[in-house]
C-alpha cells in the first residue's frame, strides 16, 4: 500500500496504536490486579496486640502462605473433586456439542433453526440462574423429575447434578462453533462421497468429523479451561444441600478465604498456585494437540 517511504514511516506506529486500547484494558484489569495478588500472596495480616488486637498491620510473610496452601488437605480434596467433575463434563460437553452439530447439519433434519436456538439457549442463561433453576428440579419437595425417588445430592450423584448444570450451559456455545465449521465445508466433498456410494453415517465419520477436528479440539480446550474455573454451579447449589461444602472446589475455597474469613492473603496465594497450574495444563494440552494436528496434516 505504502508507495513512498515517508508514508511508510507515518504508518509504522499505527498497529501499536490499534492494540493500545486492548493493552491498556488488559493492564488495568488483568495484569495490575494479578501483580497485586502476587504481592498480597507474600504478605500476612497481624493484629497489633491486646485482647482485641487494637487494629492490624500487614507483615511480609515470605513463602509462609504458599507453605500453608500446598499443605492444605482441603484444597487438594477440592482439586480432586474438580478433576472428577472435569473428567466427565469435558468429554460430555464436547461430544454432545459434536453430536448436535452433526445432526443439525444433516440434509433431512427439520426445524433446524428452532432446534439450534433451543440447544443454544441454556448458554444465554447466566450460570447462577441456571443453577438455581436446576436446584428446584433436584430438591425432593419441589422436584418435578423424581427428586423424591432419586437423591440428586447423594455422595456420588452430586457430581452428576453439578456437572449436568455445567454441561447444559456450555453445549450450546460449542455446538455453534462446530456447526459453523461444518457449514464451511465445501458441498462438493459430500457430493463426491455420496457419488462414491458412501452412506450418510460414513460421510459423517470419514469426511465431516475429521475435517472439523480443529474446531472440536478448540472447544475441548475451552471446556478444559472452564472446568478449572468451576465455581458458579456448586456455589449456588451449596445452600440447598448438605452435599456441597464451602471449599468444594478450589475457587470456592479462594472465595471463602477472601470474603468469608477476610484472609485475602491466603486467597491470593491459592489463586497464584491455581493460575500457575492452569497455565501449565493449557500450555501442555495446547502443545500436544498442536503436534497431533500437525502429524495428521502431514
Amino acid at each position: 500500500m505504502a508507495r513512498n517511504p515517508a508514508a511508510a514511516r507515518r504508518t509504522r506506529g499505527f498497529p501499536y496504536l490499534l492494540v493500545l486500547p486492548a493493552v491498556l484494558l488488559f493492564t488495568a484489569f488483568v495484569a495490575a490486579p494479578g501483580g497485586y495478588a502476587l504481592l498480597l500472596s507474600f504478605q500476612r495480616r497481624k493484629v497489633n496486640g491486646g485482647l482485641l488486637g487494637g487494629g492490624t498491620h500487614t507483615v511480609f510473610a515470605g513463602l509462609a502462605n504458599y507453605r500453608d496452601v500446598l499443605g492444605d488437605t482441603e484444597l487438594w480434596s477440592g482439586v480432586l473433586r474438580m478433576l472428577a467433575l472435569g473428567a466427565f463434563t469435558v468429554p460430555a460437553t464436547v461430544l454432545l456439542a459434536l453430536l448436535f452439530a452433526v445432526l443439525l447439519d444433516l440434509e433431512r433434519t427439520r426445524l433446524k433453526r428452532i432446534t439450534r436456538l433451543t440447544i443454544f439457549l441454556p448458554y444465554a442463561v447466566p450460570g447462577v440462574i441456571a443453577s438455581l433453576m436446576w436446584g428446584f428440579l433436584y430438591l425432593p419437595a419441589t422436584s418435578p423429575i423424581g427428586g423424591d425417588r432419586v437423591d440428586f445430592f447423594g455422595q456420588v450423584a452430586v457430581y452428576f447434578s453439578v456437572g449436568n448444570v455445567a454441561v447444559w450451559g456450555a453445549v450450546g456455545f460449542n455446538m455453534i462453533v462446530i456447526y459453523t465449521a461444518l457449514r464451511a465445508l465445501p458441498a462438493e466433498l459430500h457430493e463426491s462421497a455420496r457419488l462414491d456410494g458412501a452412506s450418510e453415517w460414513q460421510i459423517v465419520l470419514r469426511v465431516k468429523v475429521p475435517m472439523v477436528l480443529p474446531a472440536v479440539v478448540m472447544c475441548g480446550l475451552f471446556t478444559v479451561l472452564a472446568a478449572l474455573q468451576v465455581f458458579n454451579e456448586p456455589n449456588t447449589l451449596k445452600p440447598l444441600s448438605n452435599a456441597v461444602s464451602s471449599t468444594w472446589v478450589p475457587l470456592m475455597k479462594i472465595y471463602d478465604d477472601a470474603f468469608g474469613n477476610s484472609d485475602i492473603y491466603s486467597a491470593a496465594a491459592t489463586s497464584v498456585v491455581l493460575t500457575a497450574a492452569a497455565l501449565a495444563v493449557s500450555f501442555v494440552t495446547a502443545r500436544i494437540i498442536q503436534s497431533r494436528v500437525q502429524q495428521e496434516a502431514a
Partner: protein, 444 residues
C-alpha cells in the same frame, strides 16, 4: 489490502482509544461516588451533615424517614448492600478502601472481629447517656474493656415456634424439656410418616450456637489479653450428642433451612416447629405465607424441667465506622434509633424486633402481637418472660466466621456421610485456634 485512507484510519483509532479510556475511567470512578458523608463540614459542626447507613432490615426506611423528617441538619441516607455476614465482608473491604459507610448494622457475634480489624469506632465519648438505658447483660455484647463499640438494637432469645393447629391435630403437647421434644419427634413420625417435628440445620450455625449457649457452653472466654477457646466443651458435646441421636434414628429431617425445600416444608406442614430467634415472625411471612395465624411461640425446651435458660440467635447493634467523618452525629442517630420510644415503637411495628433498650421493652406496642401471629396476642409477653434468662458467651471470638464455616462444613459432612457431630466440633475448635494464632492473638 485496505482501502481506507491513512487519515481516516488514524481518526478511527483515536476514537477507539478514546472509547477505551472512557470505559477504563468510568470503571475506576464507579462505586465511590455519592457514598461518603459530606466531608467539607467539620465534625461536630452545625452545618448540614449527610450520613450513610448500611442496614438490611425490611422496612427500616420507614424508621429512617422519621429521623430525617425531624432532623434537617443530620440526614441519613440508607442503603442495603447485603445482609448478615456478607455485610461484614463488605464493611471490611470498604474499610480497606477507606470508603466505608458512617453507620452499619452488625450482629453481635461479628462485632469483636470488626473491632479487632479497626473497622468499627469507639463511641464511648458520645454515648454516656445512651448506655444508661440498657441493662448490663445487653451491654456486654457491645462494650469491650470499658469501651462502647455499638448501640444495641435488638435481643433475640432462642424460642420454640410451633404449628399450634398441627400439634392439636396429631395430639402432641408442647415440649417442656428436650426429653419431651425427642418423644414428640418420635410420636409424630409414628402418626404422620411424612411429617417431621423439625430439621437439623447444618447450614446456619446461629441456632446451634444458641442451643450450646442454653446448655452452658463458653466457646470463648478471656482473662487479661489472653483468649481461651473451648468449642468442644462438655455442654456443646451434650447438645451435639442429643441431636446426633435424633438424626440417626430418623426422628428429624436433615435438610438445610432457608432453602426452597425447607420453605415448602414449612409452608405445607411437613415441618411442625422452628427453633429460632424472637425475630422469626418477620421472616415467617416470607418463608411460609400460607401459614399465617397457625404458629405459636413457647419457651425453648429445657435440659432440666423448669430451668428458664435459653441461648440467643442473632441480635444486632448499630455501629459507627472509623471511616466516618461525623462520629458524633452518627452516634446521635444510633442512640435515637435504638432508645427513642417513637423510633423503637416504629421498629417493633415494621421489623418485629424485640428491643434491646430497657425502656423499649415496656412500650405499649408490645401489647399487640406481630402481624403474622394474630392468634397469639401475648406473643411479646412470652418473649419478655424468656429474654432475661437468655445467655450468650462471655465474649464472641475475633474470628467467628472461621468457626461458623467450620460448623457448616463439618456438620453438613456428618449429615451427608454419617460422620460424628463431636468430630465436627473438634475440627471447629482446631480451625478456630489455628486462625487466631496465625493472626497473632494470645491463645491460652
Amino acid at each position: 489490502m485496505s482501502v481506507i485512507p491513512t487519515g481516516r484510519r488514524g481518526a478511527a483509532a483515536v476514537a477507539l482509544l478514546a472509547a477505551g479510556l472512557l470505559v477504563t475511567t468510568a470503571a475506576c470512578g464507579g462505586g465511590g461516588s455519592g457514598k461518603k458523608s459530606d466531608a467539607s463540614a467539620p465534625a461536630g459542626s452545625k452545618g448540614k451533615v449527610t450520613l450513610t447507613f448500611w442496614d438490611w432490615d425490611p422496612n427500616i426506611d420507614k424508621v429512617v424517614a422519621k429521623w430525617n423528617a425531624g432532623h434537617p441538619g443530620i440526614q441519613v441516607k440508607l442503603s442495603n448492600p447485603a445482609g448478615g455476614d456478607q455485610l461484614v465482608a463488605k464493611m471490611i473491604t470498604a474499610h480497606e478502601a477507606r470508603n466505608g459507610p458512617d453507620l452499619a448494622k452488625v450482629e453481635y457475634q461479628s462485632l469483636p472481629a470488626l473491632v479487632s480489624k479497626g473497622v468499627v469506632a469507639d463511641i464511648t465519648a458520645y454515648t454516656k447517656d445512651t448506655v444508661a438505658k440498657y441493662d448490663d447483660a445487653t451491654l456486654k455484647s457491645t462494650v469491650f474493656q470499658g469501651k462502647v463499640y455499638g448501640v444495641p438494637q435488638d435481643v433475640a432469645p432462642l424460642m420454640l415456634f410451633y404449628r399450634a393447629d398441627l400439634f392439636t391435630r396429631y395430639g402432641l403437647s408442647v415440649p417442656k424439656t428436650w426429653d419431651d421434644f425427642a418423644a414428640d419427634a418420635k410420636a409424630l413420625r409414628a402418626k404422620a410418616p411424612k411429617a417431621y417435628l423439625t430439621n437439623f440445620d447444618a447450614a446456619d450455625p446461629g441456632w446451634f450456637t444458641g442451643l450450646a449457649q442454653q446448655a452452658g457452653a463458653n466457646w470463648w472466654s478471656t482473662s487479661g489479653d489472653t483468649w481461651k477457646v473451648d468449642i468442644a466443651d462438655a455442654p456443646t458435646k451434650k447438645v451435639a450428642g442429643y441431636w446426633q441421636g435424633l438424626v440417626d434414628d430418623g426422628s428429624v429431617a436433615k435438610n438445610p433451612s432457608f432453602s426452597p425445600q425447607w420453605n415448602k416444608q414449612m409452608n405445607d406442614g411437613t415441618l411442625l416447629t422452628w427453633i429460632s430467634g424472637a425475630w422469626a415472625p418477620a421472616q415467617l411471612g416470607g418463608i411460609a405465607p400460607a401459614t399465617k395465624g397457625k404458629w405459636a411461640v413457647a419457651a425453648l425446651p429445657a435440659w432440666t424441667a423448669g430451668d428458664p435458660a435459653t441461648g440467643i440467635w442473632g441480635g444486632s447493634a448499630t455501629t459507627v465506622t472509623t471511616d466516618s467523618a461525623h462520629p458524633a452525629e452518627a452516634a446521635e442517630f444510633a442512640s435515637w434509633l435504638n432508645t427513642d420510644d417513637a423510633a423503637v415503637t416504629e421498629q417493633v411495628k415494621q421489623i418485629n424486633v424485640y428491643p434491646a433498650a430497657t425502656s423499649g421493652r415496656s412500650l405499649p406496642v408490645l401489647r399487640s402481637a406481630p402481624a403474622f401471629f394474630p392468634n397469639q396476642p401475648d406473643f411479646y409477653a412470652e418473649v419478655k418472660k424468656v429474654a432475661p434468662a437468655a445467655r450468650s458467651f462471655p465474649m464472641w471470638g475475633p474470628d467467628v466466621t472461621v468457626t461458623f464455616t467450620g460448623y457448616t462444613d463439618g456438620f453438613s459432612k456428618a449429615l451427608q456421610s454419617g460422620g460424628s457431630f463431636t468430630g465436627a466440633l473438634d475440627a471447629m475448635q482446631s480451625a478456630t485456634v489455628a486462625d487466631m494464632k496465625k493472626l497473632g492473638f494470645t491463645v491460652g
